[in-house]
């Protein structure tokens, strides 16, 4: 006994319960005629579901509204601002604390060595922080 047209349609639409679906599936797998009927039914459904109207595509709206571009610009502006203000502050601080370089040669060097005999090794590289103390 073949599957009724209604049951085949329910099967194709996947609206029957699991037990029905299994029974119909088993019959269809074994029956060429019902398999052919199911294929035609599915073709009909594809036609009913397949209308593709011509539609006018619209361009991307809000061309000026591009969040990432804005965000990137704001980030760059912030970096520049921080850099500028930071640079200004550092330059002012450096001006207030001039580096004094102690001569390490000639008489004064000899005097310094005489004053601290352990300092016979060459002077270490000038440390800006230490020198400005």
């Amino acid at each position: 006994m073949h599957v009724t047209e209604d049951d085949l349609l329910k099967f194709a639409l996947e609206t029957c319960d699991d037990a029905e679906a299994q029974a119909i599936g088993e019959h269809v797998a074994a029956c060429d005629e019902c398999r052919e009927r199911l294929a035609l039914l599915r073709r009909d459904i594809a036609i009913i579901a397949g209308v593709q109207p011509e539609a006018e595509r619209i361009p991307l709206p809000f061309r000026s509204y591009r969040p990432s571009v804005w965000r990137a610009a704001m980030r760059m502006a912030a970096v520049l601002l921080v850099g500028f203000v930071g640079g200004l502050a550092v330059s002012r601080w450096v001006c207030r604390c001039p580096v004094t370089v102690v001569p390490q040669y000639g008489a004064s060097a000899a005097r310094a060595i005489a004053a601290s005999p352990q300092a016979v090794t060459p002077a270490p590289p000038v440390d800006l922080a230490a020198t400005s103390q």
Partner: protein, 190 residues
Amino acid sequence: MVYPKGTYEVSDDWRDLDQARHGDEAAWRRLMERHLSRLVALALMMTGSPEFAQDAAQEAFVRLLKANPAPEQGTLRGYLTTIVYHLALKENRRSARQQNVENSSLEDDSPSALESMVRSEREWLVVGAIRALDDAQRTALVLRFYGEHTYEEIAALTGVPLGTVKSRLFYAVKQCREWLKEKGVFKECM
């Protein structure tokens, strides 16, 4: 699946939306390519108005871009469909009110606009068959085939039990097939 579905991943939609929001025209076109036609079909079949269908589908895309929904909220496909569905319901209420006032003909389809939108005679007949269904059956069919919603989603969207949604779809397709057989679109094959 029993009906043709897009051969793309759900994540492609979200990636393209993100890129479109960053000004990527190509990503925007891909989203339109995937969804615009079926959304126009959905609105056209729900309301019968080609002009409204075009506007509603485009508006859904603009709203999508503005709202920028999160992927956790569901699929982008479902998001677009739901917007168009609600716009179509609103349009049907509006045109029903207008028709009551004007006492005009029920048929306000504009043939020339429809002809330019639906190309083949077969598709034209399919639109006619779907339009000939009662509202409840038509809604179930359109949300399933053109909204690409699951039966559970349709039940939630229309506020009817799952079994009712399935039975409405079954009768909708059955009736469309009868109608299209009469018009000679489908061969008698059973």
